[in-house]
C-alpha cells in the first residue's frame, strides 16, 4: 500500500455475465496480499469511484451489478480496457475451524466465493447458503458447486430452492452440517437476523457489512454503522465499515 502511485492500473481480461445484470470482471493480474472480505476501490477517471468486494485475488476479480451509472460503465468495459484499483482495504474474514457455513444475500455472494476457494484449497468443508429475491437474482451458485461446495438456495418467490428467507436454508443446512463458524455477507436485515441466530445458537459468526464508502481509509466517517445496529450486534459505537470492517466478529462467550 505504500506504492508511489495511489492507484494501480489493471486491464479487463474477461467479462463474464453472472446473472441478468451482474458481470464478473476478471482482471489481468493478481492483487497482492488480499484477504477474502477485504475490498477495493475501483476508479474510472471522469466517471467515479466505488467500493467492491474481492471475488477472487488471483487474478483480481470483482462481481459488478449494473445498478447505477458507475457500475453500468464498469459492466460495459471490454477485454483490454483499463480500470484503476486501490486496495486491498479493510478487515477481511478469518477462516476458523474446518467446517464453514457461508451465507450470501444477493451480491453478498461475491466475497464469499473468494473465502470458499481459500477453504477448499485447504481441504476444508464448505456449505454455502445463497438467498435472493428470485432465481434471476442468484449469483455464483454454479461457481460454488464447481469448487466442491455444498450449495443451499432460498428465494423469496420460490423460483429456486427453498421458498423464503436465507435463514431457513441456514437452519436446514445446519441440521446435517455442524459448522464451526458462520460467515455472512449481504443486506443489513439479513445480517441482523443472522447475528441474532448466531447468538441464540452459540455459533461463532463473521459478518461483512455494506455501507456508503467515501475515503475507504478510515478518515472521513461516512461509513459509520449507526448506534442501534452496533448495539444489536455488539459492536462498539463509532464502528467504521471501511477500516474496522467490513467484517465484524462474534464469538460466543
Amino acid at each position: 500500500m505504500s506504492d508511489m502511485q495511489a492507484y494501480q492500473r489493471y486491464f479487463i481480461s474477461n467479462s463474464q455475465p453472472k446473472n441478468y445484470r451482474t458481470r464478473s470482471l476478471v482482471l489481468d493480474r493478481p492483487l497482492a496480499e488480499a484477504q477474502p472480505g477485504q475490498f477495493v476501490m475501483i476508479w474510472l477517471p471522469d466517471v467515479g469511484e466505488k467500493p467492491f468486494s474481492i471475488a477472487n485475488a488471483d487474478p483480481l476479480t470483482a462481481a459488478i451489478a449494473a445498478v447505477g451509472p458507475f457500475s453500468e460503465a464498469l459492466c460495459a468495459l471490454e477485454p483490454g480496457q483499463p480500470l484503476w484499483v486501490r486496495g486491498p482495504l479493510g478487515q477481511g474474514f478469518e477462516l476458523k475451524g474446518k467446517k464453514h457455513l457461508l451465507v450470501g444475500g444477493g451480491y453478498g455472494a461475491a466475497p464469499l466465493y473468494f473465502l470458499a476457494k481459500l477453504a477448499r484449497a485447504r481441504g476444508e468443508e464448505v456449505c454455502v447458503c445463497l438467498g435472493a429475491r428470485s432465481q434471476a437474482e442468484l449469483l455464483l451458485a454454479e461457481d460454488f458447486r464447481e469448487i466442491g461446495c455444498r450449495v443451499e438456495i432460498a428465494t423469496e418467490d420460490g423460483s429456486a430452492g427453498h421458498q423464503g428467507l436465507v435463514l431457513e436454508a441456514v437452519r436446514a443446512a445446519l441440521a446435517d452440517f455442524p459448522a464451526q463458524t458462520l460467515y455472512a455477507c449481504g443486506p443489513k436485515p439479513m445480517l441482523l437476523a443472522l447475528a441474532a441466530f448466531c447468538k441464540d445458537n452459540r455459533l461463532a459468526g463473521q459478518f461483512s457489512w455494506e455501507a456508503m464508502m467515501r475515503c475507504g481509509i478510515g478518515l472521513c466517517g461516512s461509513c459509520e454503522i449507526d448506534e442501534p445496529t452496533c448495539d444489536a450486534v455488539g459492536l462498539p459505537h463509532g464502528w467504521l465499515t471501511c477500516k474496522d470492517g467490513p467484517v465484524s466478529f462474534y464469538q460466543p462467550a
Partner: protein, 311 residues
C-alpha cells in the same frame, strides 16, 4: 539517567486538557459516537468536522487517497448544515464531558456575515472552543480564495465571529500565504483566543496512466508526514509573533513529531492523517511516546519544552 515524572496536561484558552493531542477537524468528527470514540482512544480534545450554514454533500469520489507522502483529500466540506449540527454537538459535548474531554466545534461559511451566524449558532451547543475554519483549500470553485489568504479578510472574519460569541475562538490558518505570522497577528488583534495551524497544503496528484488528476475535485489538501516541515515552520513563525496559544498540526504521526511541534511553540498538537496510518488508537500511543521521550530527556512538563527550538 533517572527518569522524571512527566506531566502532559495543558491549558488552551482556558480549556483544560489531560494531554495536548487534539483530533484535527475533518477526521472522524462526523458524529457524537465517533467523537466519543476518539476521546476514549486517548485524545486530549476533539474537533468536530467543519459545519457550514447549509447541508452539503461534498465532492463525488475519489475524495481521498493515500500516496507515498501521506494523504490527499478533497472531501468538499460534507456537513449536515447548522440546524442539524447543533443536536449532534450537544450530544457529543455531553458524552465527552463525561470523559473529561473538551469539544472543539469547527465552523466554515461562504461569507463574513455567515461566519457570524455560524458562531452564534454553534454557541448554543456550548462547545468548549469554536474553531473558525477560514482555510479549507478544496472549495475554491464555489467559494473563491479562502479568507485565510489575506490579513484583511482573516481579520474581518475574526472580528465578526468575536462579536457573535463569548466562547473562546481559534482561527485555523492556511500554510500557502506569503506571511502566515502577519495573518495570525491580525487574528489575535481582532480577539482570537488561539491559532490553529496549519490546514492541509493545496496540492494535486496525477495518475500518469490515466492522464488525469486523481481527485474528482482535481486539487486537494495534502496531509500526513510529507507536510510536517511546512507545519513546523509555520507554527514557529506564528509562535514568535503572537502571544495567544497555537494548536500546531500537520504531519504529526508519532510522539517525536508532537514534541517537535511543542518545541516550535505550540501549546496543543493536532492529529489527523495519523489516524489512517496508525488507527484511532493513535492518540494514546502518541501520548505514551511523548511521555517516554520527556521522561528520558528530563522534561517534566510541556512548558519546559515549549518554544525551545525558536528561542
Amino acid at each position: 539517567m533517572n527518569k522524571v515524572s512527566v506531566d502532559l496536561t495543558c491549558e488552551l484558552a482556558g480549556v483544560r486538557m489531560h494531554n495536548p493531542l487534539v483530533l484535527a477537524s475533518g477526521v472522524l468528527g462526523t458524529s457524537a459516537a465517533l467523537l466519543e470514540r476518539v476521546g476514549a482512544c486517548g485524545a486530549g480534545a476533539v474537533t468536530s468536522k467543519s459545519c457550514g450554514p447549509e447541508e452539503r454533500a461534498g465532492h463525488p469520489n475519489p475524495i481521498a487517497v493515500e500516496w507515498a507522502g501521506g494523504v490527499i483529500n478533497a472531501v468538499g466540506l460534507t456537513n449536515p448544515g447548522l440546524e442539524a449540527e447543533i443536536p449532534t454537538l450537544i450530544d457529543a459535548r455531553e458524552r465527552l464531558h463525561a470523559q473529561g474531554i473538551p469539544l472543539i466545534a469547527s465552523i466554515f461559511a461562504p461569507t463574513v456575515e455567515d461566519f457570524g451566524r455560524m458562531a452564534a449558532g454553534v454557541s448554543a451547543a456550548e462547545p468548549d472552543l469554536i474553531e473558525v475554519n477560514i482555510s479549507c483549500p478544496n472549495v475554491g470553485d464555489e467559494f473563491g480564495t479562502p479568507f485565510s489568504g489575506s490579513v484583511e479578510s482573516a481579520a474581518a472574519v475574526t472580528r465578526m465571529v468575536r462579536t457573535k460569541t463569548k466562547l473562546p475562538i481559534a482561527i485555523k490558518l492556511a500554510p500557502n500565504v506569503p506571511n502566515i505570522a502577519r495573518i495570525a497577528f491580525a487574528a489575535q488583534e481582532e480577539g482570537a483566543d488561539a491559532i490553529t495551524a496549519i490546514n492541509t497544503v493545496p496540492g494535486m496528484l496525477i495518475d500518469p496512466y490515466a492522464g488525469r488528476p486523481v481527485l474528482s475535485n482535481k486539487v486537494g489538501g495534502v496531509s500526513g508526514w510529507s507536510i510536517k516541515p511546512i507545519a513546523l515552520r509555520c507554527v514557529a513563525e506564528i509562535s514568535r509573533t503572537v502571544s495567544i496559544p497555537v494548536i500546531g498540526l500537520g504531519g504529526v504521526s508519532n510522539g517525536l513529531d508532537a514534541v517537535e511541534m511543542i518545541m516550535a511553540g505550540a501549546t496543543a498538537v493536532g492529529v489527523g492523517s495519523a489516524v489512517w496510518q496508525r488507527g484511532v488508537e493513535v492518540f494514546a500511543v502518541i501520548a505514551e511516546e511523548m511521555y517516554e521521550f520527556m521522561a528520558g530527556e528530563g522534561y517534566p512538563d510541556l512548558a519546559s519544552m515549549r518554544g525551545i527550538a525558536i528561542r
